[in-house]
Each structure stands twice: as C-alpha cells, then as structure tokens.
Symmetry: D2
Subunit: 138 residues, 4 copies
C-alpha cells in the first residue's frame, strides 16, 4: 500500500453533495485507515433529541468506504454494511474510525467504531459496524 | 396490533430534524409495515453522481424503526441494521418498504427493500436490509 | 424462474458432509423459497442446554443459499449473512424458511426466519437473518 | 478487566456438545480477545469440497461470544452476528480471532477474522465478521 495524501481524500469527500448536507470532514486517510469527524448540530437529531441513527449509519458507510479505498483504489463500490447502535449521541463531535480488517483480491472489509467526543472531552462508543467494498476495475 | 393512524407516524417523522434535511415522507404505516418515499435530488448524491449509500442506509434505518414501532409502540430504540447494496439509484423516487418478519417480547425484526422508481415508472431494487428495534418501556 | 424438483435440492444437500453432521433436511425448494428442517438433538446444544447459535447461523446460511440458488442457479457462492437471535430454541423441530427478497443481475438477497416448532406444536421465532449469494458463472 | 484463566474458557467450550461435533479448541482467552482453532476435516465440507460456510459462521458466533464473555462475564447471550465470506477454506487449520471493539454497559461488540493456515503455513483470510453479546445479569 502506498500512502494517499489526505488532500486527495478531502477532494473526494468534497465531491459528495450528500456529505455537504451532513457536514463531516476527513481527518485521517492512511493505508488501511480512515477517520471522519462531524460537529453534532440540531439538524442531525431525531424526535427524542439525540443524533439520528441514519447519521451514524452514514458515517459507518462513508468511513468504511474511504478505508477500503486506501487498499483497493478509488474505483470501488460499497457492497454492504452492518451497524450496532450502542449508546445515544448527544453533543460535541462524532468521530468514526474505520480500519481494514481483511483484504482478499478485489474485496476489502473494514471495521468501524463511532465515538461521541462530548464537549468535556469524554469519549463514548455510540456505534460499531463493519462493511465491505469491491473494486470495480482490476 | 391496532392500526395507528398514518397522521401519527407523519407527526413523528416531522419531529425528526434529520429527516427534514433528507426529505422523506411516510406513505404507509400499518400494523407490521411502513413505507418511506423520497424524491431523489442532487443533494442526495455522491462523487460519481448516484445516490449516496448513506441515503439508502438512512431509509433502511428509519423505515425499519417505523415498522417495528407499529408492533412495539413509540418508545423504542433501534438496535442495529444491515444493508446490502444491489444497484445504484439515479433518478425518480426511492421507496423503502419495511415489513416486520419477527416479533418476540420487547424485540422486533423488520426486513427492508429499497427500490428506485425511475421517471418512466420502472422499479428496480437498489438495497435490501434488515434490522431490529427494542421497546424501552414495558 | 423454472421450478427445480425438490429431489435436485435434496441431492445437493446430501452432498454436503457438514450437513450430515448436523442432520437438516430440505422440505421445500421452490422458485424464490427454501425450507430446511432439523430435529433438535443433544448434539446441537451449548453449555446452558439450549441449541447453539452456530446451529441457527448454519441454518440461516444454508437455507438462504438454497433459496438464492432457485433464482441464480447451482453455481453460486454465499457472500455473507446476518443473524439476529431472538429466543432460545430448546426442543422439537427447527424450521428455517428463506425467501428471496431481491434479485439484481448475478446477486440475490434472501431473508430467513428460524422457528422452533415445540413438541406441542407451538411455533416461536428464534432467529431472523438475511444474506446474499452471487452467481459464479453467467 | 481481570484475566480469566484459559482453563476456565476450555471448560465452557467442553460443555458445548455442538462444539464436540465440530471440534474447535480454545487457544487464547484474554481480556478482550479469544481465539478458536479447528483442524479442517472432511466432515466440515460442502458439496464443492471446501469448508461449509456454516463452519465459518459457527466460528464467528462462538469466538465473538468468548471474547465478549471476557468483558461481560459468563452469563451472556449472543445478540446477533454478521459474516462476510472472502475466500474458500480448503485445508489445514482454521483460526478465528475475536477482539472486543466496543463495550457499553451490558453490551459488547467483537470483530472477528477467520483465517485458513494452510499446511505450508500460508495464512489467508476466509471470513470477517462482527457481533454482539448482552449480559443477562448485572
């Protein structure tokens, strides 16, 4: 694996209109690993006031795809994902960390953890997930 | 199961700021079943121009939770979900249909299919998923 | 989809040494659907005396693959699966029912429910799952 | 987390009749981690001669539950799991390694990798999975 500059990952993220809506930023993009962070805002909430599960599943989806992209290249499709919700996220920053845990041929699997970094600096795991991506060209 | 009026479900959805951002509407809300629909717009896309996987996973998350709510009641949390991406969604309407496939005690499982209804009326399955929710009060 | 005779499915199952160990039988094999049944015996249990989760996940894996085979053909590989455990299985018969819920190109997704049919005839859902298979030849 | 002696884990495994059938052994049992190994034999195969997916899903189920048990205690139930199949396993030893990636309250999530260690010593990832367990007593 060759290191891909963070700026390349940032350009890909900037080219995703759906991410503009959500507002995540790429803070790490290294061989086998990617981190997305998001400042929690009111638009991310559901009817009970906590962050919507759809925001967490979005972070799982996108972070795992970036991580898999570091080993498979930019021409990939996400094949699927799973998310387990562990705790409600309320305030501060959401940080999703994806690590490639398996890579075989044109397919890679990444494991993701989403933490809430509360305004007082406390970290708490809110979701854990896993997913895979497949290279579309050899 | 008693039928819950569609308007009750619509009020819950309207109370989700994150859904305002995405723009889905509840079009069916019956015992064991819920349907969310979304008019595909540019803000839903990723860098290759197709609908972002995070939009599909959001629809899976929210539709399964509404469906589980019809059997468990409104006080529930989503425990987790899985999504398999099958085809890219491009234009028209996304329709997510969730059906409760198992219900035991305080836990229910729903299966979800997300279809693209293209402008010419053609339906195509873009994602299939499954997830569960747990009642937080007896 | 053309109907495949049940006897063809039974031959495939008989060719699986691992199924000999477990002892499931194919009781339905129709376009888009497959059912495996298993008489619960002591060899299927874990340390608390109930059926091992690995037996339920085996049934999910094999039933979904048979169901996907009815739409994709016999030359397939299972891509992955998910299982939610809902209730312990204790006695009687385990019946796993898989239904194809999506089929796009060379990939199909099936949803599975595993029920315990207790000796008194009571049915109870013990697990719900979903998985996909991919055709290895066109 | 206090270290639990390997022998305690081995006793739990020995109390699982279903594992007797399959023949896995516990080779690591440390805080947050568990490893199960299995000598591949003909009884583990499917109709194409490779190891049955149900064997891999069994290893994912049991290894994640042992790993979660190291942080939650022995009184747990497995809530669910997901498996992605990456490569066929043929000969040698299957080694499943589970690592706890999140732990919140009474619930823990573990990520699992299943490798084939071929007779010539080559390791290859055959499956990746994730699952969660819940403590049944406080």
């Amino acid at each position: 694996m060759t290191a891909i500059p963070l700026s390349v990952g940032e350009e890909i993220l900037a080219a995703q209109p759906f991410n503009d809506l959500i507002g995540a930023r790429l803070t790490r993009f290294e061989p086998g690993e990617a981190v997305l962070e998001l400042d929690i805002a009111d638009r991310h909430r559901q009817q009970f006031g906590v962050v919507h599960g759809g925001v967490l599943s979005y972070l799982v989806d996108n972070t795992l795809t970036f991580a898999c992209g570091t080993v498979l290249g930019a021409g990939i499709v996400t094949a699927g994902l799973t998310v387990s919700y562990l705790a409600a996220a309320r305030d501060g920053v959401l940080r999703a960390t994806a690590t490639v845990t398996a890579h075989a041929g044109r397919r890679a699997v990444a494991t993701v953890t989403v933490e809430e970094i509360a305004p007082d600096g406390t970290a708490r795991t809110c979701a854990a997930g896993q997913g895979s991506a497949v290279a579309t060209r050899a």
